[in-house]
C-alpha cells in the first residue's frame, strides 16, 4: 500500500535561454530565459497540468522534456525505458504539425512504421479514427480537406497510435469547438483510466485543467511560481499570480446585468 509512486520524469534546476536578435552589431547579445531554474517530477499514471500566460515557457518546457531542446543548466531525465517508444506529443499548432502531402491513414500510422511496430495496421487505424470521432472515410483524404478541429483530432490519433505510456499535449483542445472539445477530453479521461496513461497537459483553459489534472504547475516568466494539487490551488491559491490568473477566468455567474 505504501509503495512509492514511480517517477516518469525528473527535472532539477532546468534553465533554457534563447538569444535575442542583436539590436546593433556593436551591442552585446541579449538573452531571454524561456525556462529558469525549474524543478519538478512527473509520477506514473498522474495527470499534471501546466498553466501560465502566453510566453511563460510552457511549450519550451515540453520540448526540453522531449529532448528537442537542450537545457543550458540543470538536469532532466526520463526514468522509463525508452523515451522514443513510450512518450508521444500533440503540439500546439495542428495545422503545421501535419505533413500536407500524406494521406490521413499514413499520417496516423507513421509512428508505428517508424518504430517498426508490428500490428494489424487496418484494425488499429479504424480503432484510432473511432476513438477521436472521425469517419473511416477520413483515412484516404489529405489534411487540407479538414477543419482545424478535425486536424487536431488527426494529430491526437497519431500520437495515440503506438500506445504511449506518457502523452504530452500542448493546448490540445483550444482549437476545438465545444461539440468536439468534450469528446476529446472524455477520450483523455478514458485513456487515463483504462491504460494508466501519464498525461502532461498545457492549457490556458483552467476549466479543462481543473477537471483533467490532479496536479498543477503555474508558470510565470519561465519559473514555476506555484505547484500543488489542483483542487487545493483552485480553492486556495497561495501566490498572487495564481490568484490573478484564476480571477481572470470569466464565468457564467458573473453578470453585467442581473
Amino acid at each position: 500500500m505504501s509503495e512509492q509512486p514511480e517517477m516518469v520524469f525528473r527535472a532539477r534546476g532546468v534553465t533554457k535561454r534563447f538569444a535575442l536578435p542583436r539590436q546593433a552589431p556593436w551591442l552585446p547579445r541579449r538573452f531571454v530565459a524561456a525556462v529558469e531554474e525549474v524543478s519538478f517530477e512527473v509520477l506514473r499514471g498522474e495527470s499534471l497540468g501546466i498553466v501560465g500566460e502566453s510566453g511563460s515557457g510552457k511549450t519550451t518546457l515540453l520540448k526540453l522534456l522531449l529532448g528537442l531542446e537542450k537545457p543550458d543548466a540543470g538536469e532532466l531525465r526520463y526514468l522509463g525505458r525508452s523515451l522514443r517508444r513510450e512518450v508521444q506529443v500533440v503540439f500546439q499548432d495542428p495545422v503545421s504539425a501535419l505533413d500536407p502531402r500524406l494521406r490521413v491513414a499514413d499520417i496516423i500510422l507513421e509512428p508505428l512504421r517508424v518504430m517498426g511496430l508490428r500490428e494489424p495496421r487496418e484494425t488499429r487505424l479504424h480503432e484510432l479514427l473511432q476513438a477521436v470521432g472521425l469517419p473511416r472515410a477520413a483515412a484516404g483524404r489529405y489534411p487540407h480537406e479538414f477543419s482545424g478541429g478535425q486536424r487536431q483530432r488527426i494529430a491526437i490519433a497519431r500520437a495515440l497510435a503506438p500506445r504511449p505510456r506518457v502523452l504530452l499535449a500542448d493546448e490540445p483542445v483550444s482549437a476545438l469547438d465545444v461539440s468536439v472539445r468534450a469528446q476529446v477530453l472524455n477520450l483523455l479521461l478514458d485513456l487515463r483510466r483504462d491504460f494508466d496513461l501519464t498525461l502532461l497537459l498545457v492549457s490556458h483553459d483552467l476549466g479543462v485543467v481543473r477537471h483533467l489534472c490532479q496536479r498543477l504547475l503555474v508558470m510565470q516568466s519561465g519559473r514555476v511560481v506555484e505547484a500543488g494539487e489542483t483542487r487545493r490551488v483552485f480553492a486556495a491559491p497561495a501566490q498572487p499570480y495564481t490568484q490573478l490568473l484564476l480571477a481572470a477566468i470569466p464565468t457564467l455567474s458573473q453578470r453585467r446585468t442581473a
Binding site: D177, N186, V208, A248, I249, R256, T257, A258
Partner: protein, 322 residues
Amino acid sequence: MSAVSAPTEPVVRVSDLSVRVGTVEAVHSVGFELAAGRRTGLIGESGSGKTLTALAVMGLLPDGLSASGRAVYREQDLVALSEAELCRLRGDRLSMIFQEPLSALNPVQTIGEQVAEPLRLHRGLGGRESLARARELLERVQIPRAAEKLGQYPHQLSGGQRQRAMIAMAISCSPEVLIADEPTTALDVTVQAEVLRLLDRLVDEEGATLLLITHDLPVVAGLCDRVLVMYGGHLVEEGAVGEVFDSPRHPYTLALLESIPSLDQELPSGRFRAIPGAVPGLGQFPSGCPFRNRCPRATELCATMPALEGEGHRAACWHPAS
C-alpha cells in the same frame, strides 16, 4: 454624446438578411435590432454564420459572397448602399474589430499610420495632427510606450498589443456602432480580461452600441445585456442575457450552456458534457430545423423550420426546453 437616440430606439435594424456563398445560402433570413447604447452578444460555434452576418452588415463580404435583405442604420440600408457611401460610414460611424488582428493590419505600414488613417480620411486631419491623435489613442487603449509603438510594424507587437492597436483604430472616430468579432479568442486569459475591461470602458465612454461576436458564453455574461444565438446560419434564440442563460428555450443554447465545466463543482458523472456529433459544413445541415440531427428532443415536426417566436425572449423550436 448628444447624437445618441432614445435608449429604446434601435440604431441598426436587420431584417430578412441572407448571405450566399456562390449559390449556397449560408445565412438564412436573420432579423434583429441593436438598441442604442446596448451591448449585444452573438454566440454560436464556428461555422454558425456569425462572421458572415457581421460582414454583411458592414458591407465587407469578400468576392463571390452576396447579401440580400436589409440592415438599416439611420434610414440608410447598408445592404443597398454603394461602396463609396459605405466607405464614408465605415471606420467613422460604423467600425469593426476583426477576428485576426495580424491579417487585418497591414504588415508593411506602421502602427501610427494605420491608427491615424481613419482620422485623415474622415476628419481631414493632417499628418502631424493625426499622428498626435494616434498616440493619444494608443495610450487610451493602454499600450505601453505608445510613442515608441507609433513607428513600429504589427509583427513587432505582442498579440494583445496588436488587438489593442486594432481597437484604437476602430474607435478613432468615436463610432456609433462597434462590431467586435472574437476580439479576444487568440489571447490568453489575463490579456483577454484586460482587453475586455478596456472594451467595456470604451463602449461606456463613447456611448457606442456594441455587437460582440464570440463562442465564449461567460464573456457574453460579463459584458453584454442581450444575446443572439446562431446555429446553421439561423438565428435560433434571442433575449436578455439573464433570461437566455438562466432559462434557455432552444436545445442548442441549453447544450452550449451545459458544456461549460464548472470551476467549483465536480463533473456530473465524471465526464465532460458533449453535444453529440459535430457542426456540419456549409450546405450540409439538415433541412427544417438545422439542429435536428443532433437534438435530443427532435420529432417529425422538426423537418419543418420553426419560426422565431416569443415576446422579448424568442426561440425557433417546436419543443422548447422551458
